[in-house]
Amino acid sequence: MDPVLYNKIVSIGIYGSAIGLILIGLYAVLVKKHLTKIVIGLSIIDSGIHLLFIAVGFIKGGTAPIFSPKGIELVNQGTAMVDPVPQALVLTAIVIGFGVTAVALSLVIRLYRHQHTAKIDHIKSLKW
């Protein structure tokens, strides 16, 4: 297969799915009525952004940025590795995303205790 065409298909697949995840999450946040589904939407947006980050940092033919044991020339290994910076940033982002999801879920639980429903239509005090 033509390498240029192949590269194009792969990039459309990867970037497309990452952007698709972001849009699906955004749709859930904007349209869904149930608060738990909104939180799930937020974490789908998170996943999409992480995938996008990793995809931008990927280098064709690159391995994970981990230097293997003795016997292999270390200097040449570095040139065949993907960019480690986006991976480190995504590690941070996953942890922060977890914190956001946890606090959001706790707010949902709290609201459910007070209003006995988690659907935003049924919570009248939110309307103005």
Binding site: N7, V10, S11, I12, I14, Y15, G16, A18, I19, I22, L23, L26, Y27, L30, V31, L52, A55, V56, G57, F58, I59, K60, G61, G62, A64, P65, I66, F67, S68, P69, K70, L74, G78, T79, M81, D83, P84, V85, Q87, A88, L91, T92, I94, V95, I96, F98, G99, V100, A102, V103, L105, S106, L107, I109, R110, R113
Partner: protein, 239 residues
């Protein structure tokens, strides 16, 4: 009507993202020549082995180069756990007691959970002890340990982890992290400076303070996630 607006908005956002990211060639190296160190990634790839002898470059970035950032990250996680506790706090009423699940789970799940729980703990500890050598690290290992506790919470109705123990583990791990940082400040000149000898690449004891910090992070994350799970699953009932 509302859905039309939403779809229009999504189309705009999607078009902007597609238009931006489809200009970025997938798989193209943007690091430049590694020896010239024109980008941050090239600098890290070039220097991690010689200066730090840490095999996993991502760990070196997270714990050593951006160690201060990781301290902040761990603090955010702590704040999330503490916020969760304070938001969900409810006073126990007369005759109520704490349960995780209302009904006892099946014999199969109970026996299986008891069998597999120690193995999950060992795997988690392995992942964060080898954070500087293999894929993984403190956050990942801590998350694995928390899944082990989640299994126990789901299998056993009356399984509880003492909040005192969790708080102590978490606090001591945090204090260890900050102590290593201040030790670097005193003997090295800057906060979280890597003051220990770096050892041989791919040894378990290598990379100076990197494994120490990641072990502390592992314990801290495990305790925090377990605390979060316990607060979220816990409810009070009269049964």
């Amino acid at each position: 009507m509302k859905k039309a607006i939403v779809i229009l908005l999504l189309a705009v956002v999607g078009w902007v993202l597609v238009d931006t990211f489809f200009q970025v060639n997938f798989g193209e190296s943007r690091l430049g020549e590694l020896e010239q160190q024109k980008t941050v990634g090239a600098f890290y790839l070039n220097n991690t082995v010689e200066k730090l002898t840490v095999a996993n470059v991502v760990t070196a970035i997270v714990v050593n180069y951006r160690g201060f950032d990781t301290l902040g990250e761990v603090t955010v996680l702590f704040l999330a756990a503490a916020g969760l506790g304070s938001i969900l706090y409810r006073r126990k009423e007369e005759g109520e007691h704490d349960v995780m699940v209302l009904n006892n789970s099946s014999q199969l799940l109970q026996t299986g959970a008891r069998l597999i729980f120690p193995a999950i703990l060992v795997l988690g500890v392995y992942v964060f002890i080898h954070g500087h050598l293999t894929p993984g690290g403190g956050f990942q290992g801590g998350a694995i340990i928390a899944t082990g506790f989640l299994l126990m919470f789901m299998a056993y109705k009356d399984y509880h982890v003492s909040h005192n123990v969790l708080t102590w583990v978490e606090s001591l791990a945090g204090v260890l992290f900050v102590t290593v940082g201040i030790w670097g400040l005193i003997s090295g000149g800057s906060f979280l400076e890597n003051v220990l000898g770096t050892g041989v690449l791919n040894d378990l004891v290598s990379g100076g303070v990197v494994p120490i910090i990641y072990i502390a992070v592992g314990f801290k994350v495990a305790a925090e996630l377990t605390g979060v799970l316990e607060t979220l699953l816990n409810f009070k009932t009269k049964k």
